[in-house]
């Protein structure tokens, strides 16, 4: 391990084209890089190549990250300080600079814009909480119930993945059809077959019920992800634990409570965070169910920002709202990572 050959055939070296073959051309960050080569050649160019190679490998990724993430983010922040309306789309730099006006407008709950944003934010929080909780519950229960082998388990698992694999537009449009007032399956079952809901058919995609329709679709779409992650986590529980517990006379339920659920702790932390971020940012579900403007009861922040930007053409306000949303998500994520002690672990691990 320690005595790696000090020369590398020319042409197989790093893409810098520097002719000196040296230990650095092997470019491993681990053991080899720390080993001082015996008696060997020019160390200086070696070191230069050692440090250049990873950056060269990263270059395409860095350039694209700059292009698709950094520049748009900086621009988004700049846009949020301007009165950017449809008249300035052709040359946004001409839009008048207005300082924090957009932010004041967005957070001033005494005026309609701020009020609507706050309502939409509250709706999103409730929606996210319920959806994440239900997805976690269904996913965990399904994973625990399919942990032991039984006939048809493989098929059932494959079925459970279907909502996850279906493209969102195909799945959500199907739900939109099922929620139709006059020709949908939901009203047919509830109203015609079970006799619920009074004389009139229920509106599901308009008015207050739209919240519950959206929640149903969201849970349907996302619980398989929880199922998938928890299933994988259950694989890592050593079988001895169960055997020992069984020997001690613990029944199934006790084993689930004492062994299965506690071993999910670390996984649940990541799972809940990921589900939270996805659900909070979800645009597809409301957009495909309701179109460009969602009913008030189902007006999620993402669609609210979309509407203020692309329907009422207030890009400046939309940008300010986006920045506020990002700040909120950053704060929540940071607090969550600190509370669960996970941030440290991840940063160290990488």
């Amino acid at each position: 391990m320690t005595s790696a050959p000090s020369t590398v055939p020319p042409g197989t070296g790093s893409p810098t084209g520097s002719p000196t073959g040296s230990a650095a051309a092997r470019g491993t960050g681990g053991v080899l890089a720390r080993v001082r080569r015996p008696g060997g050649g020019s160390r200086r160019p070696g070191r230069a190549r050692r440090s250049a190679l990873p950056y060269l490998l990263l270059l395409p990724a860095l350039l694209l990250e700059l292009l698709v993430h950094l520049i748009p983010m900086v621009m988004g922040i700049l846009m949020s300080f301007r009165k950017l309306t449809q008249f300035f789309i052709r040359d946004w730099s001409r839009a008048p600079w207005t300082g924090f006006d957009n932010y004041e407008l967005a957070v001033d709950v005494n005026r309609p814009v701020g009020r609507a944003l706050l309502d939409s934010f509250a709706t999103t929080c409730l929606f996210t909480f319920l959806s994440v909780a239900l997805c976690w519950l269904l996913g965990t229960a399904a994973a625990v119930f399919t942990q032991h082998s039984f006939r048809g388990r493989g098929l059932l698992r494959a079925l459970f993945f279907v909502p996850y694999a279906l493209p969102a537009y195909a799945a959500v449009i199907t739900w939109a059809f099922m929620f139709q007032r006059d020709n949908g399956l939901v009203n047919h079952v509830l109203h015609d077959q079970l006799g619920l809901g009074g004389a009139e058919n229920t509106f599901w995609l308009i008015g207050d019920n739209s919240f519950w329709a959206m929640l149903t679709v969201s849970v349907w779409k996302s619980w398989p992800f929880a199922f998938l992650i928890v299933t994988a986590a259950l694989q890592n529980i050593p079988g001895d634990l169960y055997e020992a517990a069984a020997l001690d006379g613990a029944g199934v339920w006790q084993q689930i409570r004492r062994i299965t659920l506690p071993s999910l702790g670390a996984v649940n932390q990541v799972l809940v965070l990921v589900l939270f971020l996805w659900t909070f940012n979800d645009f597809n579900t409301p957009f495909l169910l309701f179109g460009r403007s969602a009913p008030e009861a189902a007006d999620l922040v993402s669609i609210h920002i979309y509407q203020s930007s692309f329907v009422t053409w207030n890009f400046g306000t939309g940008s300010a709202m986006s920045v506020l949303l990002l700040l909120f998500l950053l704060l929540v994520t940071a607090a969550y990572l600190l509370l669960t002690g996970r941030g440290r672990k991840d940063a160290d691990a990488r």
């Binding site: 491993t28 490998l57 909502p163 537009y169 099922m178 339920w253 940063a347």
Partner: protein, 297 residues
């Protein structure tokens, strides 16, 4: 850490728990799993049966048993909207975005996995955090960039497939990099070190040893990136025009002012879903291993 979770048998031997669950447990399990399966499959049932119904069936009261079965929706879908065109657009956009992000991510992930360099942690943290950014955050600026650059240079960026592909990299690239770091970490370092001792350069070791060893992971990342791009709605609805419209937007064309052709919508949904669902189920074990490697650690 992650290496141990990389077993590619996501669906396989899981029966680790108590072998003989009591009858009460089995009864509850049967009830719960049956209800959940019904909830899961109901939309699929509706999609399949409605796509075979005549228009008067899907326009009137919902019926479990159709008045007649027809394949008309499956032939009509191609004429009501230019579905074939949307399919081609989606294929080009999703395919190119997938290819670009996987190729670029292979190099970046290799650098992160095998090298210690200044800024490494900053890079991985940036990649990780961009995954949590809402798409809407990038939508507005990218939209204005494309419009403005187009106006300045005369190149019609806005509405072009290239612009849409670029926006898709906002989610597929960080995801691919993140997943591939995990996969490359699980390829034993001795392998590429041995290759380099044998005279490969670092790139040679990457392409001849690490990439072949990580093929399942790369396939999983590619399939996942493709699935996400295939199902993307937000960017597609803003960044496309008549010529570049993808399936995500195109399906809305089946609702006209007077009629909503639900049977055709369902048929078209099924047609565009089958490739990705089949791909997912075929590659399920790799995907499951890949997805969970990132989260279960």
């Amino acid at each position: 850490m992650p290496a141990s979770t990389h077993s590619p048998r996501g669906g396989g031997r899981l029966a680790r728990g108590p072998l003989d669950p009591p009858a009460s447990f089995r009864a509850l399990r049967a009830v719960f799993l049956t209800l959940l399966a019904a909830f899961t499959l109901l939309p699929v049932f509706v999609m399949v049966t409605s796509s075979l119904k005549p228009l008067q069936d899907v326009a009137g009261r919902f019926r479990w048993i159709p008045s007649g079965l027809t394949l008309r929706p499956y032939t009509d879908i191609w004429h009501t909207v230019p579905l074939a065109e949307y399919l081609v657009n989606s294929l080009i956009v999703a395919g190119t975005a997938t290819l670009a992000s996987v190729v670029i991510a292979v190099f970046a992930a290799y650098a992160v996995s095998r090298h210690r360099f200044r800024g490494r942690r900053l890079f991985t943290l940036t990649v990780l955090s961009t995954q949590m950014f809402p798409g809407i955050l990038f939508l507005l600026p990218l939209f204005l960039i494309f419009v403005n650059v187009g106006n300045a240079t005369g190149i019609a960026l806005y509405g072009s497939r290239g612009a849409l592909i670029l926006t898709y990299l906002t989610f597929s690239l960080p995801f691919s990099i993140w997943m591939l770091i995990g996969y490359f970490d699980s390829v034993p370092r001795d392998l590429d070190e041995a290759a380099m001792v044998d005279g490969c350069g670092p790139l040679g070791a990457l392409l001849r040893v690490v990439v072949p060893a990580a093929v399942p992971g790369i396939v999983a990342v590619a399939v996942y990136a493709f699935m996400t791009a295939w199902g993307e709605v937000l960017f597609a609805s803003v960044m496309t025009n008549d010529a570049t419209r993808t399936l995500a937007v195109g399906l809305q064309g089946y609702s006209t002012q007077n009629d909503v052709y639900w049977n055709q919508i369902m048929a078209a949904s099924l047609v565009v879903s089958i490739p990705v669902v089949a791909g997912f189920l075929l590659l399920q074990k790799y995907l499951v291993a890949g997805l969970t490697a990132g989260a279960v650690k």
